[in-house]
């Protein structure tokens, strides 16, 4: 177990190093940022001075090492546009994004798990059919379109919820629904197939034939085991939701990291873009590490399976 933990930690560090290379490369793709920083009428000499000041004349590897050592100390430099530390900006918008993502995921789980399980228990019933259609439609609906439709119907048409902004629980409903719909569909499908698989297992049949009550078989034996694949995908799902939050936040004018990122990209605020990508990737790696460890705890067989591969 300890060896596994050490190996996973080392892997995570390597992944974050890789992320730093890509994030660093992103800035260099754009060429010289000095022109963006200085006013149009800046003299050639000023440009040269700023280049030297920013260390852009140094060899690339040295710039990367400098970038990395700053990043390790959680320093991503000043945002070009706002002239404050990029990390501070992110940390001030991160709670809004986490709130939206968590609400989306919670909503998805709350709907998907019971629906998926019921669909599996009543296989080929009307409920199962409705569930399958819902899953298909949910997976085919782009988040930006669903968001617009929700605004059209529930904000403009019925006036039940606000169309934009972050102001209390009511304003969370529409964006969380738009964001969570795709995950809801995926998770419902997974819950259904997981449950079907477990229900076909020998121990379930044995328990049934031994006269254990159906309720106990379903909720005590089957459900616990069907939950394991769900736990693993939640980490990945969280990453997908963080990506989806970029678009959801744009549509609903939700003041989170996603909107900050879109804004930063369009104003060529590359330190801020770098910092956002780095922070979100780190978040993703940490959450997946936690999920993996939780998973091995839930199902001790996993470590050996992974080693065997």
């Amino acid at each position: 177990m300890l060896a596994y933990l050490a190996r996973r930690l080392l892997q995570s560090v390597l992944v974050l190093l890789g992320v730093s290379v890509i994030v660093f490369g992103l800035l260099h793709l754009t060429g010289d940022p000095t022109r963006l920083l200085l006013p149009l009428e800046a003299r050639e000499e000023d440009v040269r001075q700023l280049r030297a000041l920013l260390g852009l004349d140094d060899p690339l590897w040295l710039q990367y090492v400098r970038f990395l050592s700053h990043a390790v100390h959680a320093d991503f430099g000043l945002s070009f546009k706002h002239q404050v530390p990029a990390l501070g900006l992110i940390l001030s918008t991160l709670p809004a994004t986490l709130e939206l993502t968590a609400a989306g995921l919670a909503l998805a789980l709350l709907v998907a798990v019971p629906v998926g399980i019921l669909a599996a228990l009543r296989r080929n019933s009307l409920l199962d059919a409705v569930c399958s259609v819902g899953v298909l439609v949910g997976q085919a609906m782009p988040v930006y379109w669903l968001g617009l439709l929700l605004i059209m119907v529930f904000a403009v048409g019925l006036g039940w919820f606000p169309a934009a902004g972050r102001d209390g629980l009511r304003s969370l409903v529409l964006p969380a629904t738009a964001l969570g719909a795709f995950s809801m569909a995926r998770l419902a499908r997974l819950a259904r197939s997981g449950m079907l698989e477990v229900l076909a297992q020998d121990y379930v049949r044995t328990a049934r034939s031994a006269g254990v009550r159906a309720f106990v078989v379903t909720y005590k034996y089957a459900l616990k085991n069907a939950a394991i694949p769900l736990v693993t995908v939640i980490g990945l799902e969280f990453g997908i939701l963080l990506g989806g939050a970029v678009i959801t936040e744009t549509i609903f004018a939700w003041p989170g990291v996603g909107r900050l990122a879109v804004d930063a990209i369009f104003s060529r605020d590359y330190p801020l873009v770098q910092a956002i990508v780095a922070v979100l990737a780190t978040l993703f790696v940490v959450i997946n590490l936690a999920v993996d460890l939780l998973y091995t705890y839930l199902d001790p067989r996993i470590v050996y399976v992974r080693r065997a591969r």
């Binding site: 892997q11 390597l14 890789g18 890509i22 298909l136 085919a140 930006y144 379109w145 990209i265 990508v277």
Partner: protein, 293 residues
């Protein structure tokens, strides 16, 4: 004669089981053919030039509504452009870009997955860590950053979409190759002194094709959504070329007054994605039920 008789009685049972038409396949293929045909034949089918602005007929609702015009079945947008024609033309870009980027992602991913699975050891470790890196980075932000930096041309959009979505292919191919390379025919071919490249192309790759096809179909659905998301955010293929994502972005400003602007292009995206997904599901169940993608 007896043989023929047994055959005759035996056949119907088997063929009935085989010929049972799958709703998913029929629906998926029909919608896809219709969408693909509409996109290919857009110049012949579209009633109007998709870029033609008719300012006197701005924001007209679909034909069946009170202010609708018969010559614009799905209405007009804020510049008086015909929505139906724009959807038809938009499909060309959406489908062409998505297909090309799936092809690119598959080429990248399959090559890397083959190498990782076949050579193992250090190559495997490095490639799989790169896969992890790409999984960790929010691809939509990466794509937006790169497209914005390089300029949103058709080629750049395809390159970026392909380069950020090869991971699925690499993972599935690697897993498959790990088991294929131990099979007798590969071991035998190796023992006969075939070189690695020949082994890979002649013996390993053909046996890994099934999951590749399935993943490619499901990824196509994803790419359609991905492409219109980039367009929606203003970083797709640039106007005046109509794309579904752009039309949605345009319609966003009119959701309070003109619902048809955002509804129809979204419907086009959803139908296409739904059809591709159904086809992918069906292919997976049919070809390789073990796959869990």
């Amino acid at each position: 004669m007896t043989d023929a008789a047994t055959l005759a009685t035996a056949l119907p049972v088997r063929s009935r089981a085989r010929r049972r038409v799958s709703f998913r396949a029929v629906f998926g293929i029909t919608v896809l053919l219709a969408m693909g045909g509409a996109a290919l034949l857009a110049p012949q089918l579209a009633p109007w030039d998709p870029a033609r602005q008719m300012l006197l007929k701005r924001l007209r609702p679909p034909a069946w509504e009170a202010r609708g015009l018969r010559e614009h079945p799905l209405g007009t947008d804020h510049l008086g452009r015909d929505i139906l024609s724009r959807i038809l033309y938009g499909g060309r870009i959406s489908l062409a870009v998505s297909l090309s980027s799936v092809a690119l992602a598959a080429t990248l991913g399959v090559t890397l997955g083959l190498c990782a699975g076949f050579f193992g050891g250090r190559a495997d470790a490095i490639i799989m860590r790169v896969v992890d890196v790409f999984l960790a980075i929010p691809y939509i932000l990466l794509a937006m950053g790169v497209v914005f930096a390089l300029g949103p041309s058709l080629l750049n959009v395809i390159l970026v979409m392909g380069a950020t979505r090869w991971v699925q292919f690499a993972r599935i191919v690697r897993a498959d190759v790990l088991s294929i390379r131990e099979r007798e025919f590969v071991v035998g071919a190796r023992a006969r002194g075939n070189r690695a490249l020949r082994l890979l192309v002649r013996h390993v790759l053909p046996n890994a094709l099934t999951p590749i096809i399935v993943v490619a179909t499901l990824e196509l659905a994803f790419m359609i959504i991905y492409e219109s998301a980039l367009s929606f955010l203003g970083l797709g293929v640039q106007p005046p070329t109509p794309t579904w994502g752009w039309m949605l972005a345009d319609g966003r400003n009119y959701i309070a007054t003109a619902w048809w602007l955002a509804t129809f292009p979204g419907l086009a995206i959803m139908l296409t994605v739904l059809a591709v997904n159904l086809l992918g599901d069906w292919l997976r169940d049919r070809l390789d039920p073990r796959l869990t993608v």
